[in-house]
């Protein structure tokens, strides 16, 4: 998908991608010549259709994890399906979520919430962080390059 500024006859450059939290997706594009910015706004059905193909509008910012679609999109999956998500008595303790972080996570679209939650949980576990807060989420976003999460 490309955007053309017809007036300038210039291909517009990708700006940013946002997930507002209501199942929609927003992506902005800017004309490098005149500076005009347009936004691509997809409805939940369009967003879901793209997600179901295992692809990401704007390109992937993190490598695909194995069984990503199954792990993030199946609503009836068991919590202990995989060793890295199952509780292990001898493994590192999973970080807790502050109420503010939970509220922020709840604004992530439900069809990617599982994946986003796992990314933050893995980030915290790998660094021995006991509680995930909005500040931790911001740090993780910056370090991992997670736009709009």
């Amino acid at each position: 998908m490309k955007f053309l500024c017809v007036e300038c006859d210039q291909q517009m450059a990708f700006g940013e991608r946002q997930l507002p939290g209501d199942g929609t997706l927003a992506a902005t594009f800017k004309c490098p010549k005149c500076g005009r910015v347009v936004a691509l706004l997809t409805n939940p059905m369009e967003t879901q259709l793209v997600s179901s193909l295992g692809v990401v509008i704007g390109g992937k910012t993190v490598p695909a994890q194995p069984l990503e679609t199954v792990r993030t999109m199946v609503a009836t999956g068991r919590d202990d399906a995989f060793e890295d998500t199952a509780r292990r008595p001898d493994g590192p303790t999973a970080a807790s979520w502050s109420s503010e972080a939970q509220e922020r996570l709840s604004r992530v679209p439900n069809f990617v919430r599982g994946m986003v939650k796992k990314i933050y949980a893995d980030y915290a576990r790998e660094r021995g962080i006991a509680e995930i807060t909005p500040a931790i989420m911001d740090t993780a976003r910056a370090e991992l390059g997670l736009e709009g999460m």
């Binding site: 490309k2 193909l53 995989f82």
Partner: protein, 256 residues
């Protein structure tokens, strides 16, 4: 106004590249698999999973590395038939380790990933979910092929659900139509349904490996196996009675 191909800067989303990467991942993951066999039938309830599991067990007993991919995402039964109980699947790196039966059959199935007794349900807009559900299931099938550490296998058996949709998805994902083992029961109703599936497989370019006629010798009357074998020029590889012996599966494994 210029068109897409006239704009020379790269497409930031690169959806075609993302799809290409998915295909490459499947091809690389299956590089150690000598052959893939799709077990299919146009009709439900003929015993595809039963045949698949027992052929896999026979191959494993013959010391041939074998795996089973349960492509029946909505009615998965392979773990139960192989005697595989749930335990968390190891996820050591860029692939998930498959479950392993006591006889050494590797397997992956949605039954291992779903809550006990829960149907397969996806997150997403519930209204008109038919628009995206098929694509989601195809993605799950692709991930079962490309994200499971199958390793070196002599045979990877794919247990397909009734109908043709999953077979078509499989052909698209693999890029090449897989050889097909067809399962039927003796009745004319089964023959007619299986005939359509076999024709579709031939049209797609799949090699027909042969026919297994299941549930032979009981109340089910007919000659579906022979009729289809004659029509498509393939062999009836096995006729499975209601109470088969292990020898039947071993023989079928060697004829496959």
């Amino acid at each position: 106004m210029r068109t897409y191909h006239q704009l020379t800067d790269p497409d930031r989303s690169g959806l075609a590249d993302q799809i290409g990467a998915q295909r490459k991942r499947v091809a690389e993951r299956l590089a150690g698999v000598r052959r893939i066999v799709a077990v299919m039938s146009g009709k439900g309830g003929v015993g595809k999973s039963y045949v698949t599991a027992n052929v896999a067990r026979a191959l494993a007993r013959a010391r041939k590395p074998v795996g089973v991919l349960d492509a029946d995402l909505n009615g998965p039964t392979i773990p139960g038939l192989l005697g595989v109980n749930h335990s968390p699947l190891p996820a050591p790196g860029d692939a998930i380790e498959p479950a392993m039966s006591a006889e050494g059959v590797k397997c992956i199935s949605m039954a291992l990933l779903l809550d006990d007794g829960a149907p397969l349900a996806f997150k997403g807009p519930s209204a008109e979910s038919f628009v995206w559900r098929g694509a989601m299931e195809a993605s799950a099938l692709r991930e079962f092929l490309g994200d499971i550490a199958w390793g070196d296998l002599d045979t990877l058996l794919l247990d397909l659900p009734p109908g043709m949709q999953r077979y078509i998805e499989l052909c698209d994902i693999l890029g090449n139509p897989p050889p097909v083992l067809t399962v039927t029961i003796p009745t004319p109703e089964s023959r007619d349904a299986v005939r359509r599936a076999m024709r579709a497989a031939v049209d797609r370019g799949s090699e027909l490996l042969g026919i297994v006629e299941n549930m032979v010798g009981g109340e089910l009357r007919g000659s579906a196996g022979d009729d289809l074998a004659h029509e498509f020029g393939v062999a009836v590889l096995a006729r499975i009675p209601w109470h088969p012996t292990a020898d039947i599966w071993s023989t079928l494994g060697t004829r496959l």
